[in-house]
């Protein structure tokens, strides 16, 4: 069983929901990414989403855009992100790590080389925001050959036929984007999520994580009730932005702990 499947299975047995924080690799500094990852796990994260910075993050709001810009300024690249995961794995062999970003850096590296390296360093899943299933045939072949889960986004606008299609291809978990908008937007509509989920569940047997727009313990708690995992990105990246290199690990840890407590209660 893969690390992602094991994690969700264990959570299910404990009747708990997954907490899935997102950080951009290389933000605020390359040397702080692995300490931040360990800090997130210590604070209660179940799965880590590690952002691969891209020069043109079209689906991201200002907070994650700035994180990408900082990371690129720090010299972060896809190969560098993979190396960071290798370093993380020296101490943590159980927490699933999912890379999240845009397709072009992977295209430039080559999907086969990327999938192979993912397997080597211990990446468990990959989410490419701008590669829908229709354009991902080659990508899947290579990801699957190396046991890397393709993680898909579904949106409030996704029609049922596409949900079915994604259900066939997805592995690990499915990431439901809880609002029409970019990351970090503030207009979360709980009742809309509640309405959409039965349609998703009808076809998707994998765990469903919900993200985009989860800003605090209260929204995390409310969303957790509806699904299998809560993804928190911009709020954490904002905490990183507002911290110094000295206190960033502690500050982010404190925030994630609060989210953990809220979700578990």
């Amino acid at each position: 069983m893969s690390r992602i499947d094991t994690t969700f299975e264990n959570l299910k047995q404990q009747n708990r929901k997954a907490l899935i924080p997102f950080i951009t690799a290389g933000d605020p500094a390359q040397a702080l990414t692995v300490p931040l990852m360990h800090g997130l796990v210590k604070a209660g994260a179940d799965v880590l989403e590690l952002g691969v910075p891209f020069s043109d993050p079209m689906a991201d709001g200002p907070t994650i855009q700035r994180a990408s810009e900082r990371a690129l300024k720090n010299g972060m690249s896809l190969r560098g992100v993979l190396d960071l995961v290798a370093e993380f794995r020296k101490q943590d062999t159980t927490t699933p790590v999912v890379l999240m970003g845009y397709g072009n850096p992977i295209e430039a590296m080559g999907w086969e080389a990327f999938a192979k390296r993912c397997a080597e360093v211990g990446v468990d899943g990959a989410l490419t925001v701008d590669f829908p299933p229709e354009e991902s045939h080659e990508a899947f072949e290579h990801l699957q050959a190396h046991g890397i889960a393709p993680i898909f986004l579904l949106a409030p606008t996704t029609k049922e036929a596409r949900i079915e299609q994604v259900a066939k291809l997805a592995r690990g978990y499915v990431y439901y984007v809880s609002l029409k908008g970019v990351t970090g937007a503030g207009n979360l509509d709980l009742s809309a999520i509640e309405e959409k989920l039965p349609q998703l569940r009808k076809h998707i047997k994998l765990p469903i994580g919900v993200g985009f727009g989860i800003r605090d313990a209260a929204t995390a708690k409310a969303v957790a009730k509806l699904c299998d995992g809560v993804v928190v990105g911009s709020r954490i990246v904002q905490e990183i932005e507002n911290s110094t290199e000295q206190n960033v690990v502690a500050n982010v840890g404190r925030l994630v702990q609060e989210l953990r407590v809220a979700i578990d209660n």
């Binding site: 891209f54 020069s55 043109d56 993050p57 079209m58 689906a59 709001g61 200002p62 855009q65 810009e69 690129l72 690249s77 896809l78 190969r79 845009y102 397709g103 072009n104 850096p105 992977i106 295209e107 430039a108 590296m109 925001v129 701008d130 590669f131 829908p132 229709e134 354009e135 898909f152 986004l153 579904l154 949106a155 409030p156 606008t157 996704t158 029609k159 596409r162 984007v177 029409k180 908008g181 970019v182 937007a185």
Partner: protein, 399 residues
């Protein structure tokens, strides 16, 4: 085999496609279905043709630049006068087409990205014409170099939003427009300005711009008794070029030449010429194309004197035409484009856009080596009024 692209999924060979975030997939699918539905609808076609004739002022004439040709002493240069269109460039052809579609789809809010500002002006114009709310995203750098167009858009009732992220040019304006579309997907129609982006845009924009080449194909025989030996157009995203080129693809005796922005020269790395520079294939703004990028797949900042060509990618059909060898792509540097700009002002009394000056510069480069009975048809895609500040700055003149 007959040339027929894109396929049903929007692929031009390996290029094109629909590389978009999930939230927008239903929107581009709806757009595709609605476009395919109305494309051949007689009423839609009639309305489009009516607007082109009575509002845009089509057909645009073809003009023999005789003094300039004589001066060069070789091939005859003819100009397809898209600069004479209402709003001063070819962009209005596409903006009208998409606005008519938006109207039929019941969208009351339109958004656009713009580089030089011509597409922004065209979109603001049609929004005023059809009574729609209009938001134009424009790089902060471009807002500075294209101030007159910013004022025009505001006069026309549009809101111009400066984009401060990234290189603060066209690609960043695209990113921001896409972010707006994701957020307001149900109420909003994205009037995309060039023959790139996710399917159906490359096909749809091309179809609306093909009026350029379709007219030329009729006008040239009327003027000279035959088709030209070559058609030449500047290529940023490549909408004016594909509009002229596409009707000529199945006329093998007509050479097709696309002219990219060479900036400070391909060797300098400061250019906007992915085809000429043999850039790698990549994915940006919804399609797979040749893309200026570093070895890690990050998009590199481009440079061109002309804001409208200052873009790291190029439309997917141009990528295919390059690969199958039907079109040839070359680059013209900033200084060559400026020399052509001056030449057309002095010899013909026409002030061309800096974008179009690239196409003209290439014609001026090859004409002297050709016989006097050869004919080059250059798409004069826009007029240069918007470039007064840029050109004055370069000449060290304060207006």
């Amino acid at each position: 085999m007959k040339y027929s692209y894109p396929d049903q999924e929007g692929h031009f060979g390996q290029f094109g496609g629909v590389y978009m975030a999930e939230t927008l997939i239903p929107a581009v699918e709806e757009l595709r279905d609605q476009y395919l539905r109305f494309r051949d609808d007689p009423e839609f076609k009639a309305e489009f043709e009516y607007e082109l004739k009575h509002y845009v002022g089509r057909p645009s004439p073809i003009y023999h630049a005789k003094r300039l040709s004589d001066e060069l002493g070789g091939a005859q240069i003819y100009l397809k006068r898209e600069d004479l269109n209402h709003t001063g460039a070819h962009k209005i052809n596409n903006a009208i087409g998409q606005a008519l579609l938006a109207k039929r789809m019941g969208k009351k809010r339109v958004i656009a990205e713009t580089g030089a500002g011509m597409h922004g002006v065209a979109t603001a114009t049609v929004a005023a014409r059809f009574g729609m709310e209009c938001i134009v995203y424009m790089g902060a750098e471009d807002i500075q170099r294209q101030a007159p167009n910013v004022f025009r858009m505001k006069l026309l009732g549009a809101t111009v939003v400066p984009v401060e992220s990234g290189s603060r040019t066209l690609k960043d304006a695209c990113n921001e427009a896409i972010r707006d579309w994701v957020t307001n997907v149900e109420s909003t129609f994205y009037i995309f300005g060039t023959a790139a982006g996710p399917h159906p845009y490359p096909m749809m924009v091309r179809d609306f711009q093909c009026v350029i080449g379709d007219e030329a194909k009729v006008q040239m025989p009327e003027m000279i008794g035959r088709q030209p030996d070559a058609v030449i157009a500047c290529v940023g995203g490549g909408s004016n070029a594909i509009g002229l080129f596409h009707p000529y693809i199945d006329v093998p005796e007509v050479q097709i030449i696309g002219v990219e922005a060479g900036g400070h020269g391909i060797a300098s790395g400061q250019h906007a010429a992915p085809l000429t520079a043999n850039s790698k294939v990549g994915v940006l703004h919804g399609n797979k194309v040749y893309l200026i990028q570093d070895e890690n797949g990050q998009i590199i900042e481009t440079h061109s004197i002309s804001a409208g060509l200052d873009y790291p990618g190029v439309g997917p059909e141009h990528c295919l035409l390059k690969d199958i060898g039907r079109a040839q792509y070359v680059a013209i540097n900033d200084d060559e484009a400026l020399a052509a700009f001056d030449a057309l002002c002095r010899f013909e009394g026409i002030i061309p856009a800096l974008e179009s000056s690239h196409a003209l510069a290439h014609a001026m480069k090859i004409a002297p080596g050709m016989a006097k009975d050869k004919v080059l048809l250059v798409n004069l895609s826009g007029r240069g009024d918007k470039d007064m500040n840029t050109v004055a700055n370069i000449k060290g003149i304060t207006l």
